[in-house]
Symmetry: C2
Subunit: 380 residues, 2 copies
């Protein structure tokens, strides 16, 4: 999508077969800078330090890491070692190991001399796949937004669609388009009047990334504290909610960024459609329901500390302040589970699944998918 | 309650008929400092800059402001002028004008010579009233907590009661005890094993005040991002929720700090009792239901900026960082409305009202109260 008027992707090849560059997301929304990656170690570091984040994006970045490793030493042992190091950077990100293993399998099947070229080609293909998949999610989601706006305009209401989102499931989490934001970008580009309520998403404030990317692309948006979501829904200021997903169960339960469940409860209570947009690879066929799945507990400092610009200077010094000192106990589960009864539809690149009930959903999905076993994604 | 082992109130007479001191709440939880007030102008400044906050507390502080004004000039005109200036500091805080008008009415009825003494005596009485009222709320709430723990222990579960709260309805918002926290302090003091989940309460992070006062008094507590409340309830980690109230309708609707509604939805969805603790003066008899009441929209900078300790030093420099620059649109409604169907019981100093349904509640309340018209409170 656009940054300062230019079309940009989160990862770009700088020199074919030699180097790629990624947006340094640790500096967003305060600074927009590129970070060049020309060794597999540099890729591992960029993933570990979260310069790149978002399941689809770290998968693709990891694939280039394998390609760079093939440049450095195309022997089986060296490639295995590099892949293991890359996977170890985010051990819970299933999508990272899935992507790396895909490339590894591909390159180990060709002669050593041809491996680097094969890996670069494969990584380039994964980039294209990601962009196409997200764009298709957008195309499947767009009619849902158009229908809601149509209904609103039939009632003589203001012709702007107000969509709420949570966390960042935008293009920054992917190569381009994003998942939850893909239908929104398409709607905006098609001329629809659309406005996005951006939930801050404490503790890591990924809402700041969402606000940044929407604003850079020209989509009107407003930031809110997570607490505010219910009130806006009660007052008729939200027409639908769209979020991404970390994992989707075959019955339609959704594990996503902490706080998603509260928004879904409020949407249900106010009769507002609640959509989940995610690639079909996000379906985790191992669990029928998600009631008891393990939820990652992250560092307490994510709650205790917060970053911003000191003295409020624009593009000024990025500083961290402590809200609580180190001795204070905090809870920091990264995700929660939204049960299927609260979800209206799940938008994938294969089509839209109705979540009228658990069985219906599983049926819709099974018929929609030809590959019932794909790895789960871990967004960030 | 206790601070560093000593019993402390938010406002204390330093020298009878001469000066009072208040805790400077703008520096909490980072610095615990007293601020002396010996002129009515100093009182007005302390309220305007939110050194004191919380409806009951600013009411009492305002009363001392009138007493100080009587010291300075006991003529009718001077008192009227001082009262107007005090009320103007927080125009939406109904409780402030109510308290000031009570003192004013009282002193204008006595000869000029006797006014200062009368005002000081009256303000001292208001302090005692506030403490007694909150302590009584605590005594009415305590059996509810004991019953929950009893039931838990009958099931063979861990003998700690986990209570979640929102915002700060603790002793810092009153003279002592607090409203929502009064039953918790009493439970703790009686030896009950009680643990409090403290919700951060963005955007103003009043949860930091709650965590500070619980910790100083020795009550175990854990901070969480507001988004986390639903997940903890889903996982059986919350036995009940207790919050304060800004206004309560005769049917049992509750206007309270933004985000209360989301917690109430989640409590209902997980079959967890949701209690509201508030003085009976919080009932606003003007509105049967609160669906359409006006909600105060506060400065966007409360969302855009956040304060903490720079570099994480304990008792270090208090600094503000900007999360968003000034040009970014934000929504910042200060309160939301929790409909009566989500509330289990309302705890007042007059007793506990069941909110089984709107009519039952109004009936319980009407029979509980002898003065059906009291001003609404605005907590902060």
């Amino acid at each position: 999508m656009k940054v300062r008027g230019q079309a940009v992707r989160t990862i770009e090849v700088v020199e074919e077969d030699v180097s790629v560059r990624v947006i340094d997301q640790t500096m967003l929304p305060y600074e927009f800078t590129w970070h060049t990656l020309n060794t597999s170690q540099a890729v591992a570091d960029a993933i570990a330090t979260m310069k790149v984040r978002g399941a689809p994006l770290i998968g693709v970045t990891g694939a280039y890491g394998v390609a760079l490793a093939c440049n450095e030493d195309p022997t089986d042992e060296a490639i295995e070692r590099a892949c293991a190091a890359l996977i170890a950077t985010r051990p819970t990100a299933v999508n990272l190991s899935w992507a790396i293993n895909r490339v590894k399998e591909h390159v180990l099947a060709v002669p050593q001399m041809a491996r680097a070229t094969a890996a670069w080609q494969f990584a380039n293909i994964m980039v294209t796949e990601d962009v196409t998949r997200n764009h298709t999610i957008g195309k499947h989601g767009l009619p849902l937004l158009q229908e809601l706006l149509q209904r609103k305009s039939e009632k003589g209401l203001i012709k702007t669609l107000n969509v709420m989102t949570h966390c960042n499931a935008g293009w920054l989490a992917t190569v381009d388009w994003g998942t939850a934001l893909a239908p929104i970008f398409l709607a905006h580009d098609s001329g629809m009047h659309i406005h996005v309520w951006v939930s801050e998403t404490r503790p890591r404030n990924q809402g700041l990334l969402t606000q940044w990317e929407l604003r850079e692309h020209g989509v009107p948006c407003t930031m809110l504290a997570d607490n505010t979501a219910g009130h806006l829904m009660q007052r008729g200021m939200v027409d639908c909610v769209i979020v991404g997903a970390d994992r989707v169960s075959p019955s339609g339960d959704v594990a996503n960024k902490i706080g998603t469940y509260l928004k879904a409860l409020s949407a249900k209570d106010n009769d507002i459609p609640f959509f989940v947009a995610a690639p079909s690879s996000t379906i985790d066929w191992k669990w029928e329901r998600f009631d008891g799945i393990e939820i990652e507990e992250r560092r307490g400092d994510e709650v205790r500390k917060i970053r911003g610009l000191h003295d409020g200077e624009i593009w000024g010094e990025v500083a961290e302040v402590a809200l609580l000192d180190d001795g204070q106990p905090v809870a920091n589960p990264a995700f929660d589970v939204t049960p299927n009864r609260l979800i209206s539809k799940i938008i994938t690149e294969r089509g839209v699944a109705e979540v009228a009930g658990a069985k219906t959903f599983a049926g819709t999905f099974a018929s929609m998918l030809d590959k019932p076993r794909q790895p789960a994604h871990a967004l960030d």
